[in-house]
């Protein structure tokens, strides 16, 4: 087990360098003039240009610049072209996106998993059928439609939640975006739960547990649940990583300066250091989330052994 973790961590390190290098290439291979982009329409004096070129090593070769970036990334010293400390943005963005993702996941667990269990227990009933159709509809709506719709209905029309994210109400104004984000994984979570639960309800060991004279509550609540949760927890772990990285549209609509929102802005500004830093962090989040999920899998299912 220990050796497996070490191996996975080493793999993760390689993945990190590989992924960040690719992004670095993509970001700077396109050419363009970041200094001019920064200044907009205004002319840039030769003096300013020389200073910025020096500061950001723009004259060095590509590899050297990647290494400079790595050094700054790990020492937490990164400056964006506007001179701002990149990590200052990153910290608050991570927090915001993390909160939204957490709200989304909790919503998914509480509603999606519960509904999935009920649907599996009453398979073929009205509840099951109607919730299946509903999830189909929800899966079909892209967030580019769902987010503004929810914003209009709950924010503007019924005034249940704030329309946009505000600093004054840091939690309440994140609820609606969190729910919108969660709706997408909710449908998948419900279907997965239903399928997993239903398969396990028919398993031979359930018959054994019943024939031991255990109550239905214990058979379902302990034997079936424990087995059904394995794929669900795995899904939720991966999904948490996805939600962290995939909230661009939702954050855009609700005007949230989270990772998605800032990344979007930085790309528009051609702000290389910021883009690379955000993407690198997302890579780290994915790697860690996947490792945690794999380890969790081994904890949940004793048949899984990592060598």
């Amino acid at each position: 087990m220990f050796r497996y973790i070490v191996r996975r961590l080493l793999q993760g390190v390689l993945t990190f360098f590989g992924a960040t290098f690719v992004v670095y290439c993509l970001m700077f291979a396109g050419g363009g003039d970041p200094i001019q982009a920064l200044a907009g329409e205004k002319p840039v004096t030769a003096q300013q240009r020389a200073a910025l070129t020096e500061q950001f090593h723009l004259d060095d070769n590509f590899f050297a610049r990647y290494l400079y970036f790595l050094k700054d990334f790990f020492t937490g010293n990164l400056k964006s072209y506007t001179g701002r400390d990149v990590f200052e943005n990153v910290g608050s963005a991570l927090q915001l996106t993390g909160k939204i993702a957490l709200i989304a996941i909790i919503f998914t667990i509480v509603v999606g998993v519960t509904l999935g269990i009920v649907a599996a227990l009453r398979r073929g009933g009205i509840f099951d059928t109607s919730s299946l159709i509903l999830t189909l509809v929800v899966i079909g709506i892209p967030s580019i439609v769902l987010a503004p719709l929810a914003q209009y209905l709950f924010g503007i029309q019924w005034k249940i939640f704030p329309v946009n994210y505000t600093f004054e109400k840091p939690f309440v104004s994140l609820i609606l975006p969190g729910l919108v984000l969660g709706t997408l994984s909710l449908a998948t979570a419900m279907r997965l739960t239903r399928a997993s639960f239903f398969d396990n309800l028919r398993a031979d060991y359930v018959r054994t547990a019943t024939s031991k004279g255990l109550t239905r509550f214990r058979v379902v609540g302990v034997h079936v649940l424990r087995n059904s949760l394995i794929p669900i927890i795995t899904f939720l772990g991966v999904e948490l990583g996805n939600l962290m990285g995939g909230a661009i549209i939702t954050e855009g609509v609700f005007n949230i300066p989270g990772i998605g929102g800032q990344l979007y802005k930085a790309i528009g500004l051609d702000d290389g250091p910021t883009v690379i830093t955000f993407v690198s962090l997302l890579v780290v989040i994915y790697i860690v989330a996947n490792l945690v999920v794999d380890l969790l899998y081994a904890v949940l299912d004793p048949r899984i052994r990592y060598e």
Binding site: A203, D204, Y205, R207, T208, A209, T210, S211, K212, G213, L214, T215, R218, H223, R226, N227, I230, L300, D301, P302, R303
Partner: protein, 329 residues
């Protein structure tokens, strides 16, 4: 007539499937007295397991449906009991061992946890006491190193050991009746014999009654007192083990006996029963065995043979049972 410990009385079960109604059990009756072993024999699909599931109350309903009959345990009908009463019979009065121990055990709990579960949840034993008892039970079914292995998971055991875990688990509540549904089918031949010996020994030591379900006539001779032979959801012959071996009173039993490999008849070709088991969605008219029976006459196609009482607790559902017994055909 004295009361039997367990009695299945004229049971009818059908399954409602997409293709229609499958009449799986068609008037099965058998009984079991305290401390004795009844072997239920028959080829795949004859309804052995479904009958056992009906006794245990673990039949899938739907699609299954019990349309007629009674299942009496100590004179009380299990089929009309409340759910809660029925649950208490399971495990404590009647326990069951299943065919495939790997899929029948829960993969994510230790064997100790599963063996001791009923003791904790139904008898209110403490965790430590229940675990101690689990080790004793594992010793009793001769699992080597029980104390160390009690914390292992089912997949860490060999097939034979897993079946022993299953048996230990079924014994936890001291049941009066043990139903073993093909407990050795998934195992190697040598291991099969060991498990059969263990079951026979346990039954004797614990004075349980046992229903041994199998499709292998060879394994039951040493273990069972009586045999009930099933075909297409009916008991076609019921007899004392020795009487049945010596002289079968039904052509199907005779065919089964002829298909057992014998040491003294090495080299001769094994007889097998020709043809396929009947389709229960459209069962044959008359005697369900007639398309495969070499003694079949016109009456077999038109008339269902009644269960003939041949005396001495012996019955046969064949129009020509007496002739067969007397060696006239």
């Amino acid at each position: 007539m004295n009361e039997h410990l367990l009695e299945v009385d004229n049971l009818f079960i059908e399954f409602h499937t997409r293709d229609g109604v499958s009449k799986v059990i068609n008037g099965v009756s058998y009984h079991l007295n305290a401390g004795e072993t009844l072997a239920v024999l028959g080829e795949s699909g004859s309804g052995k397991s479904v009958t056992a599931q009906a006794i245990m109350g673990i039949l899938d309903m739907p699609p299954g449906k019990i349309t007629r009959g009674r299942i009496l345990y100590r004179g009380r009908d299990l089929l009309t009991m409340s759910k809660e009463e029925r649950r208490k019979v399971r495990g404590e009065e009647i326990a069951m061992v299943f065919q495939d121990a790997l899929s029948s055990l829960n993969p994510v709990f230790t064997v100790g946890n599963q063996i001791s579960e009923t003791l904790r949840k139904r008898k209110g034993m403490s965790k430590a006491d229940a675990m101690k008892r689990a080790v004793e039970l594992m010793d009793q079914v001769k699992i080597p190193g029980a104390k160390e292995r009690v914390k292992d998971y089912p997949h860490q055991f060999s097939g034979g050991m897993r079946q022993r875990v299953m048996i230990a688990m079924s014994l936890a509540m001291d049941p009066k009746v043990l139903i073993a549904d093909e407990p050795t089918t998934a195992l190697d031949v040598t291991v099969q014999a060991q498990i059969m010996d263990l079951l026979a020994e346990l039954r004797r030591d614990l004075n349980m009654a046992m229903i041994l379900i199998t499709h292998d006539l060879g394994v039951v001779a040493d273990v069972a007192d009586r045999i009930a032979v099933m075909y297409a959801g009916r008991i076609v012959e019921h007899a004392d083990v020795h009487a049945l071996y010596k002289n079968p009173a039904h052509p199907y039993t005779k065919g089964l006996l002829e298909s057992i490999p014998r040491l003294d008849a090495k080299g001769t070709e094994l007889a097998t029963i020709k043809g396929l088991p009947p389709n229960l969605l459209r069962p044959p008219t008359g005697c369900a065995f007639h398309p495969r029976c070499k003694y079949a006459q016109d009456i077999c196609v038109t008339t269902t043979p009644p269960l003939l009482d041949l005396g001495g607790g012996r019955t046969s559902a064949c129009h020509f049972a007496k002739e067969l017994l007397d060696g006239r055909i």
